[in-house]
């Protein structure tokens, strides 16, 4: 039995714009993935807890509030603390180009800014999730 890729789509931070997250969620669904959608205003702790309980392969976070440099790395650290650093963490939203290298250094493996075709994100997840033993 083939195991579908499981992705947690989360909105950290305080902005209420979830259109992008929903579009991504739908695209991943159509690519045959199981998307756990958690809704708005999640704390990094909530996101890490949900990722572990749902045993996801990938955490995809959409953020438009400007707090990405704080919140996204926090999730990576929390996952590491739980020994779940094999989970692929990616981000998307309004994120200035100059912030992207810093985020990648912190373990956010890709950042997709507005205008990215959803297929690019789908392909990235498919080719970068950690295969399981």
């Amino acid at each position: 039995m083939e195991r579908p890729i499981r992705v947690l789509v989360a909105k950290p931070g305080l902005d209420g714009h979830d259109r992008g997250a929903k579009v991504i969620a739908r695209a991943l669904r159509d690519a045959g993935m199981e998307v756990i959608y958690t809704g708005l205003r999640q704390t990094p702790e909530q996101i890490a807890n949900a990722a572990i309980q749902e045993d996801v392969d990938c955490v995809a976070m959409s953020i438009l509030s400007g707090a990405h440099n704080t919140l996204l790395p926090k999730v990576v650290h929390l996952l590491k603390e739980e020994g779940a650093d094999d989970i692929l963490v990616i981000g998307g939203g309004v994120i200035p180009d100059e912030d992207i290298p810093g985020l990648k250094e912190e373990g956010i493996q890709a950042v997709f800014t507005p205008g990215t075709p959803t297929q690019v994100t789908v392909d990235f997840i498919k080719s970068h999730v950690t295969p399981r033993a």
Partner: protein, 312 residues
Amino acid sequence: MDVKAKLLEGNKRAAARIITWIESGDPRGYECLKDLYAHAGHAYVIGITGPPGAGKSTLTDQLVKRIRKTGKKVSIIAVDPTSPFTGGAILGDRIRMNDLTSDAGVFIRSMGARGYLGGISEATAPAIKVLDIMGSDVIIVETVGVGQSEIDIVKHADTTVMVTVPGLGDDIQTIKAGIMEIGDVFVVNKADRDGAKRTVLELEAMLDFNGESPWRPPVLQAIAQQGKGIEVLIEAIEKHEQFLRESGVFEAHRRRNIKSEILELIKKAVMIRVNDHSETEQMLDAYVDQIAAHEQNPFTAAEQIMAHIQFK
């Protein structure tokens, strides 16, 4: 330390991983359950079912918040539909359970139904056992939004709560067979809407028809979003549990459930044996040709294929 020992200690990551194994048919999942099965049986299982949008997730959220005040550990399995075309799914039940995600005494797992039509998924029953072994006191299973005949939840829940809302149809809907027969407790949610009283009356009338039975399901009203009616619901569930335990029905149900679980596993094993049999595909194609040419029929074909496969 291995995953089984971790599960016994209540480790959530271990539980999550074992559930994934079970869902994907990885033999390690059932291996864990085989070794640890004796540790299951402590948790009380509540099923929450009802049509899409009736408020099952919101009600579950409220219910769990109240139960948590008593200190009991709660696990939730929330099932949502899987796309029949892509195999993908959007599992959105967590949206209504945000506060619970920060509570260390709560475990939530979302599941895609993955082609299983009974309102839950094939892995739901074994996942209940995993969460039971992990040390949950209460396990709540929220089904997919159901229509009229997805009733598998009763095979796995001690108390089944049927959630409905006003205005879904006339009273003939309530006397049809299927979903309306399985509630141990009925909740008319969104009770501030027009027609709530009427829906309650129609449900009561349906239950009157059932005649004498040792448990008469109560029909409650709730406004889950405002947290109204939750205390009464908890009392009703507790009363039902008390009835089950005092009447001996509890034990009888669990025995019946074990039997149906074994039968389900046999059915699955038979299908795997049939699919794995080297000649099945070839025989199938041959019979399809014959049937298409009006020389054979599917009934005889099935009998002959079954006769051909060895079941040791």
